[in-house]
Symmetry: C2
Subunit: 413 residues, 2 copies
């Protein structure tokens, strides 16, 4: 097996068209698109009967372990358009000592292992590869940090320009990473949706292509590979519950789409996990809409949380998130920053796994859901850790020893 | 295929004994060891005929993609002793736009994808698993940062104590990571070998077990999986040249051992890569010894380099590094901090790959070796990026936009 077989093998492609997620209106596949005429996300549709005939589980299992193994369910038509930095399958790491309650199996999908250290790589590798296929030269987006870093990396690799707008309190490490990886990055006095407005405003003058969350159709196709991978890793038996830290929600929507596609090609049955959208108490528009029973969500004013990745006051895919959560029998819940900090610390200390705050939020939500009975102890649960904890400012540590003086080793025993 | 099959399947084990790397003296396998009576590293020996009969390439290819797939060539005897955080196979990412000269294939083995973001995970997962098998309760080591982080993570996961001593100028991010992951960590006014002396001094009082580089036999067994993986990923055809950032040198020694073991079990032939030990100009004891033609290396005084991971003034495995380099027809070379910084910047900017400074050092060395003719353009080269660039202080970035005022988008085009 050639380790880069997925990147160089020409493949049959099965994309038939794109479809407005709100009206169902059909759009042509092989040209660039942003939102539909209704201002809603476009979804990529495949000839799933064709995929079913072309792909077997056995064939799949022979391919190298990266997201490009899902060739038939991805939109890239020519291998030459793939812009890769090594998108390896991420591991499922069980919580062991830090697991609460015991009994249930709690698996952390550790997305920090992807290029640029976050799950944003999945979406951006697909968006940039498609942009390359379309001959686009300049991409722009708003970002709380991780998406911008992934965009910068893939755009540079493809020889494209990238421009990223970040909220002004975005951590220095994220801005530096974006800039080092060749993008133009600006701090903006506002939140991520304010940054998004700049991308829209500058579009005509600059000619850049808007790759904001769900405002182009391919990031979701990349993100759906989380669901594809999960199904295969668990032997084609989906978990009982998935806790997903939800900002723009692309991954949650993408996984939900992936499960339907896997069922259509005969790889799984009709069983679905309950999808749980996890947000922060300081920015919980989906939780509010879920509890209010509304189909869409209104903007969350004065959004604040240390979990930057889910500080998204308003999501263009709000109705898709809410539909997936409701159709799955799942729920939405908000957790406090204080509990997030505690959870990150306890999982690092007890299990050696340094989660991102967003990943920590799923731990908190799981613990709360166990307590309030919405999840049972005998259920298999997957928590998404969307980025490595190394991408976030860590609390300082200051213990020192002077080796030129006598050391009381008994105190270190 | 069960995704964690490598972690739960009981395996035949083939370790026969340990052997002093200097005198050849034999040591019993199934008990804890530090250095040999000669004060030199111990090497683990296997019944390779047994492995040859037990393991086929086809069988191997069916197993999940993590370092535990190499069951028969690893020292852990019982699956229950494995302490895992998901040690997935790391990708080989080709340099594309930042490649110099063109022609040759330059593959970066991106070790930053491992748990705790560095290749130190390979060695420590093995050392900690073996310590668990031996019932050891407290581990200690000196570290420039990454090894300590890996030790902390695995020790915490195994429920063991860990104590780490770091040079006082170790970056804050590394100290914080080590502390968060449950270890006791101390800054010490000195370099890594000074820190190592504290581990030795405190041993009797504290009862901790010394897991310093090459001072216990199993880190090298973990590190050798870099060589095993590389061989398999390249279709059992080793590359022409390997550039390895060399501090303690465990990985270089380990890969060289791995290649011999692979040949003994019939997976590869006698072809070997030229092994190139890359050091920094401010700390180049191996380069000096290589050029002086000596069998061992003397301590490098006043060591300094921004590539912390290779700031190792004196290595207990010096003669093993020098032997591997010489036997392979390779060489040792030193690069400047300035060139490292430039290389990290150029690879990030042009190829979207944020290397560690140590990884950047291999890029510099490759470029220099191309120029001086020690490597030809038609040779296939592997560079080791030993950690994610996110674990190192990044240069600050400060461009901002005021969204409340008119923005001249033409300047951003």
């Amino acid at each position: 097996m050639n380790a880069n077989a997925n990147l160089i093998t020409e493949r049959p492609t099965f994309v038939t068209h794109l479809e407005c997620s709100w009206t169902g209106e059909i759009y042509e596949a092989d040209k660039p698109h942003n939102l539909s005429r209704a201002g809603k996300p476009l979804l990529v549709r495949y000839d799933l009967k064709g995929v079913r005939a072309a792909l077997s589980k056995d064939e799949l299992s022979q391919r190298p372990n990266d997201l490009w193994r899902w060739r038939e369910l991805l939109p890239v038509r020519r291998a030459a358009d793939i812009v890769s930095l090594g998108e390896t399958t991420t591991p499922l790491v069980p919580l062991a000592r830090s697991k609460v309650g015991g009994g249930g199996e709690v698996l952390v999908k550790d997305e920090g292992r992807l290029p640029t250290g976050s799950f944003k790589a999945r979406g951006l590798v697909m968006a940039v590869s498609m942009a390359k296929a379309f001959g686009i030269g300049h991409l722009a987006m708003p970002s709380n940090g991780n998406a911008g870093a992934a965009l910068a990396a893939y755009a540079s690799r493809a020889g494209m320009r990238a421009t990223v707008f970040c909220p002004e309190d975005t951590p220095e490490i994220n801005l530096s990473e974006i800039a080092l990886q060749g993008a133009s990055v600006y701090r903006v006095n506002g939140l991520i949706d304010d940054c998004g407005k700049l991308v829209a405003q500058g579009r005509e003058t600059t000619g850049w292509f808007d790759v904001s969350t769900l405002k182009e159709p391919y990031r979701i196709e990349g993100k759906k590979t989380m669901g594809l991978e999960l199904a295969e890793q668990l032997g084609w038996e989906l978990p009982d519950v998935i806790f997903y830290p939800t900002g723009g929600g692309t991954g949650l929507i993408g996984m939900w789409k992936a499960f339907d596609e896997l069922e259509a090609i005969g790889f799984i049955g009709s069983k679905r996990p309950r999808m749980v959208a996890v947000q922060a108490e300081g920015c919980a528009p989906m939780v509010r809409a879920f509890e209010d029973g509304t189909e869409t969500a209104t903007r969350w004013e004065n959004a604040h949380t240390l979990a930057w990745g889910i500080r998204v006051p308003q999501a263009v895919g709000d109705f898709l998130i809410l539909r997936a959560v409701r159709d799955s029998g799942g729920f939405a819940m908000a957790v406090s920053d204080e509990a997030i900090t505690d959870a990150v610390a306890s999982v690092a200390r007890d299990d050696g796994l340094l989660l991102s705050p967003e990943g920590g939020a799923t731990v908190v939500a799981y613990r709360q859901a166990l307590t309030d009975g919405r999840v049972r102890r005998d259920e298999r649960v997957v928590l998404f850790n969307c980025a490595t904890g190394l991408k976030y400012p860590l609390p300082p540590m200051h213990a020192s020893l002077d080796r030129t003086k006598p050391i009381d080793f008994a105190k270190l025993a």
